[in-house]
């Protein structure tokens, strides 16, 4: 993504993303966070899922988002996938419209039609739970077909060909294209999810704890697959995980989150080798 002056531009530029569940009060942000050690406002009992999260994601980059349960990682992924709305802040996405013209949209303020368009054609999401990302009532091929049809593909032969190609690329045997996801193993369900997410050739892929619950050998194969796909397609990725091994392998830069705040950010190697924030130090030492 290059601007008119020839400067590279981020594909995503988030500034001050905030999400408060509940009615909220003027003191919500001041009374929660790392200092008070909670993300529940003691005054109004609202949950501050995200508070002032800012970051940039560059084309072709993999950004890791790390933190314990309840730190706001998945809330951030849901905001970026337009499954939820930010209470405040902006998230500027840069890309191309259907006619190839440059487009800049605030993900935090899109209308329903644009949100649907972005989800159908420009964003991909792989969930931790395959039941959230796949329709278990239709075949693996049907799941991929749904994304292709959403993106405007109108030919049955083309849909079928592309579904077979994507399944082959994600190492699902072609002969299982007409099997339902319930007949697959957990690792294969994740691969079908990845194939489905990649179907419309998105510019941004969100991976929410994709290897959680899988055994080590299957995890390794999935992570290798993600890396290969990223190198082939150049798709930018946000990888949400609590697993330090995953961010070490995949992410070039990492955000560390706690109580809905980014407590540390930087190059992944730097964060893992020389953590500055006490919470990051605790995370890294716990992993070792």
């Amino acid at each position: 993504m290059i601007d008119h002056a020839g400067e590279p531009q981020p594909i995503l530029d988030a500034a001050g993303l905030t999400r408060i569940h509940g009615r909220g009060c003027p003191d919500c942000l001041a009374l929660t966070g790392d200092g008070p050690g909670t993300n529940i406002c003691p005054r109004c009992r609202s949950v501050v899922a995200l508070a002032g999260v800012s970051f940039r994601l560059w084309p072709g980059e993999i950004l890791g988002v790390m933190g314990e349960s309840g730190s706001g990682k998945s809330s951030l992924a849901r905001l970026l996938h337009l499954d939820d709305r930010a209470t405040a802040g902006q998230a500027w996405w840069r890309g191309e419209d259907d006619d190839g013209s440059a487009l800049r949209l605030d993900l935090a303020a899109t209308d329903g039609w644009r949100a649907r368009w972005l989800r159908d054609r420009r964003l991909g999401m792989v969930h931790q739970n395959p039941h959230l990302g796949l329709n278990f009532a239709v075949s693996a091929g049907g799941n991929i077909a749904e994304r292709l049809l959403c993106a405007g593909e109108g030919s049955f032969a083309a849909v079928r060909r592309r579904a077979l190609g994507l399944l082959a690329r994600t190492e699902v045997p072609r002969g299982r294209v007409d099997h339902k996801p319930g007949q697959f193993s957990g690792g294969m369900q994740q691969r079908v999810q990845i194939a489905r997410a990649l179907a419309p050739q998105p510019s941004l892929l969100l991976l929410d704890e994709v290897t959680t619950g899988l055994d080590c050998s299957v995890q390794a194969r999935i992570l290798d697959l993600i890396l290969e796909i990223q190198r082939e397609t150049g798709v930018a990725m946000v990888v949400v995980t609590h697993d330090l091994g995953v961010v070490r392998l995949l992410a070039g830069r990492t955000l560390v989150m706690r109580h809905g705040r980014v407590v540390e950010s930087g190059l992944t190697d730097q964060i893992l080798e020389d953590p500055q924030h006490p919470y990051t130090q605790q995370l890294v030492s716990a992993a070792l």
Binding site: G112, W113, R116, N135, V138, S139, G141, G142, A145, E146, R147, L149, C150, G154, S155, F156, A157, A158, V159, R160, D178
Partner: protein
Amino acid sequence: MDADSFGFLDAGARRELRRACFKAVCIPGYQVPYASREMPIARGFGTGGLQITLSLLTPEDTLKVIDQGADDSVNAVNLRRFLLATCPGVSATTRTGEATVIQTRHRVPETALRSGQIMVYQVPYPDPLQIVEPSESRRRRMHAEGDYARLWVRLYEDLVRFREVAISNRYPARVHGRYVIDPSPIPRWDLPKLHRSAALHLFGAGREKKVYAVPPWTVVEPLAFSDVPFQVEAFRRADGGRHACTRCGADDSYLDEIPLPGGGRRWQCNDQDHCDGRLAARSPAGAAP
């Protein structure tokens, strides 16, 4: 006479239904909610269509009621009797060409409809997305966002499993390039008749409390892949030819397959008026036997 106080419905109900119909015409294919009244027939027996017909009829109207193409089946006879008894001055006919309002259950007449006629359909399930999404709130969002991918996936799955689309009736169709409708359980044969039809088509679901419309001359396109075109019933014989009506000889109408007592089958026009009309035109006396 005040048009709002005529027939079985009270003036308020009639006005509300007419408003719902106007809105449905203004937004082709959009399901307009309305307060479905209690009728002297059970829900599921055509109360939606009946309420629309009651709201439309005036003493100048000529009414035709058909059930699966027949004017004399139990459902059609009972509805016609009720409508005539409660709407004084309205006349009844079995001829499609003479009717101004045609209430139908699951068929569109073979005779081409003309401008000024109104077709009223009895609809059991108004939402085409019901078969792929159980939650009504999610279905509303899908309609609002024009998200019909799951219906397309249904076609995809049919083509993969059966090598053809296996939807025999209630075939989803896009109206005016926007909303996808459930055209009530009419066979696929009837769907092309809605495309740029001269008549107004109103669909009423009494149990589900929804009205939607296909206004005259509106584009109605069945969902179909670009390389797998939409097809109607072929009525093919084993030798590849087409079955014809054993009564009038028509080989261009929707046929019923009737098993014979001694074995075997015969084929007959489903649209009784159309079949009678062809017979009358052929017989020297000019009347159907």
